[in-house]
Amino acid sequence: MTTAGSILQGGLPGYILVAMLLLLIGLATVLCRRSVLVQFMGVELMLNAANVALVAFARFRGGDVQGTVFYLFIIAVAACEAAVGLALVVGLYRHRQSTDTDRADALKQ
């Protein structure tokens, strides 16, 4: 079948396309929004895109368990990152009374 058909039917190219689009949307979020919390959400979207791609490949290559294992680790890392990152956001807010990343430009020349 053609690639387009495969996409519509839930074949590998479909999942990959979804993953990529999700990644791009996450990237756009990071690039276009100023609130650090929204940027964080974008990062989570990007991580999920990777997860989708990972699990899709695992399924379409004979149900490999390693894909899921890796997915698990990604979740663990994402959790850590969320914890520490949000702690930093809180700290940033305490200092500047703002979560606008455009205002946090003290390192500019």
Binding site: Q39, T101, L107, K108
Partner: protein, 638 residues
């Protein structure tokens, strides 16, 4: 002899080195001892060398000590040559040098920098002896440059006073201009003969015929003469000598009367066989010499500073020496150098005595009546004046006469110039004597304190006076019963390598001509000398009256014919202007602005531009990363 000959120049060098390094910490007596011993040692050894030359085969000894330069066919040795010419000159340098060292002890007694003075003086003697005794042209040139350096150092002895410092620089620069000619001449001789060593050059020259027209020998000898012009203060490079009087008087006596300025004449005598082969060069030498002799004598007529009179007199007398050389009278020119050294040194030292006695008064118009107060100085200076004016029987008489005689043979115009110069010489010398020693003292205060100088100064004066009287003997001419011995003595040196007959000048003229010219010259000299004395023996009144009657003429002559001013306007000011232009225009704008500052500004601008990327905002950085990722993916996934 070989083992000790090298000490002749080296002893004063050691003295200079010692005094230069340690002199400041030594007591004055120690400094004196070292300096005098060095020069005296040199003199003794020079005497021994003179004795050795008398007995040497062909009257010539050449000692080579080591190879200085050896490259391909070029071999320049460090060597000394002793022949009648160099041995005599060495005696003059060492002898008069020693006397002046002794004189300086008294003269420089109260000056600061006593050790520095003697260090330079010793150094000068070293360089001068190197010049005189060098067996090859580069060695001679080392001495040549070195005496120029020492002249600069000694003229600028009081380096913190503007006139002395400026004069020292002027002397050095004019010398250097002449040195260019010297270098060209040396190189031309190398091209012609393939060697720098004097002996072989003259030997090979002996095989050649005189040049007609402008050949390489003429070029070389003219260039050498140009160098001599700088060193020996002839037109056009004489301008430094009068200014050099800003140095201490013993320096003027030694360097600017007896030795350094005679280096030019010595050089030409050394290369006499070459000059005999280049008639055009010889003629040039004669005419330049005559012109200088007359021109300088004219300027000397109205100078007020006693040392300036003597300075112009020196320039004039040097002109006479060149006149003699140029008339193919090499022995005569050298003879005049010999006699002049005695009486000019004596005149300068006497002037120094007067200056010091009057507590540094140098203006003749402020002197007067010193005849009684400073007898030794007076009488010795009388002897010297008689010599320089050519009073019959004195040394100067014989030497000057010989020159005028030969000049007449070459051209009556040369003779006329020389005669006129002699008249002026007698006039200004007796003007000097009258203003200084006769009449009423015009500065009573200074006159009160005037005393005769100490023995360290008067003894050299007397020695020089005796020398001046006796120095004429070697040149006693044939018509007086002598046989112009000096010519025979110098012949081995002056005619070295000559094998072709007919090159040597035949016995010129005739006895009648000789007597006639002698009589005319004597009459002229005696007459103008008497006129000078009579005019001034009561003070400068007549001159002031003349100045009032013809102010323009007086100002021109007393103002040295405005030559210095002309040089300033025509040469120096444009050069300075160009320098200024190059500095402000080229250096500042182009090199500093465009070459240095501009790239800096450009870099800074580039940096300022690049820094705009550093916004400090994470979003922007993320965008940049994403853009880069797109680019890479595009490259890899095409």
């Amino acid at each position: 002899m070989q083992t000790v000959a090298w000490l002749i120049p080296v002893l004063p060098l050691l003295g200079a080195a010692f005094l230069g390094l340690l002199g400041r910490r030594l007591a004055k007596g120690a400094v004196t001892a070292v300096a005098l011993t060095a020069v005296a040692g040199s003199l003794v050894l020079a005497g021994l060398a003179f004795w050795a030359v008398l007995g040497a085969p062909g009257r010539r000894l050449e000692f080579t000590y080591l190879d200085w330069m050896a490259a391909g066919t070029l071999r320049v040795p460090f060597g000394l040559v002793f022949d009648p010419l160099s041995a005599t000159m060495a005696m003059v340098v060492a002898g008069i040098g020693a006397l002046i060292h002794l004189y300086s002890v008294g003269y420089m007694e109260e000056e600061p920098g006593y050790a520095r003075y003697f260090c330079y003086l010793n150094l000068f003697v070293f360089f001068m002896l190197t010049l005189v005794l060098g067996s090859s042209l580069p060695v001679l040139f080392v001495g040549w440059e070195g005496v120029g350096l020492c002249s600069y150092l000694l003229i600028g002895y009081s380096y913190d006073t503007e006139p002395a410092a400026a004069a020292g620089l002027k002397a050095f620069l004019y010398n250097r201009m002449g040195d260019l000619g010297m270098t060209m001449g040396m190189l031309a001789l190398f091209v012609a003969f393939g060697t720098f060593t004097i002996g072989p050059i003259l030997a090979r020259a002996g095989q050649l015929a005189p040049e007609t027209g402008f050949g390489i020998l003429t070029f070389a000898t003219l260039m050498m003469f140009a160098g001599a012009t700088g060193k020996s203060a002839q037109i056009p490079l004489y301008l430094w000598l009068p200014d050099a009087m800003a140095g201490p008087t013993p320096v003027s006596a030694l360097i600017h009367a007896a030795t350094m300025v005679t280096a030019g004449i010595y050089l030409i005598c050394r290369l006499a066989p070459l000059y005999r082969l280049a008639p055009i060069a010889l003629t040039t030498v004669a005419w330049v010499g005559a012109a200088t002799a007359l021109f300088a004598a004219l300027i000397g007529l109205f100078q007020r500073d006693i040392k300036k009179v003597l300075a112009y007199s020196t320039v004039s007398q040097l002109g006479y020496m060149f006149l003699g050389l140029g008339s193919a009278g090499f022995a005569a020119g050298f003879f005049h150098l010999f006699t002049h050294a005695w009486f000019k040194a004596l005149l300068f030292l006497g002037a120094g005595s007067v200056i010091r006695g009057l507590h540094h008064q140098q203006d003749l118009f402020q002197m007067g009546g010193l005849k009684a107060k400073m007898p030794v100085t007076f009488w010795t200076m009388v002897v010297a004046t008689l010599c320089i004016m050519g009073f019959p029987g004195t040394a100067g008489f014989f030497s000057k006469d010989e020159i005028l005689y030969l000049a007449f043979q070459k051209s009556p115009f040369l003779y006329a110039a020389g005669l006129l110069g002699a008249a002026c010489t007698a006039f200004y010398m007796w003007r000097l004597m009258a203003l200084a020693f006769w009449g009423e003292p015009r500065d009573p205060h200074a006159f009160e304190h005037a005393r005769e100088s100490p023995a360290t100064m008067t003894v050299p004066l007397v020695c020089l006076a005796l020398g001046a009287l006796l120095a004429g003997l070697p040149g006693l001419p044939r018509i007086w019963g002598g046989h112009f011995a000096i010519e025979g003595w110098l012949e081995p040196a002056l005619a070295f390598g000559q094998v072709r007959a007919g090159i040597l000048p035949a016995e010129p003229g005739g006895a009648a001509l000789a007597w006639g010219l002698m009589a005319v010259a004597t009459a002229v000299a005696l007459g103008s000398g008497y006129l000078g004395w009579r005019a001034y023996r009561r003070g400068p009144g007549p001159e002031l009256a003349f100045a009032a009657r013809r102010p323009g003429l007086y100002r021109a002559v007393a103002g040295k014919f405005y030559v210095d001013e002309a040089v300033e306007k025509v040469i120096l000011a444009p050069v300075r202007w160009i320098g200024n232009l190059l500095w402000k225009g080229f250096d500042v704008i182009l090199i500093d602005g465009l070459g240095v500052n501009f790239p800096g500004a450009l870099t800074r601008a580039g940096g300022d531009l690049a820094i705009l990327v550093q916004t400090g905002r994470v979003r922007n950085y993320a965008l940049a990363m994403a853009a880069g990722a797109v680019f890479l993916l595009w490259i890899f996934l095409r």
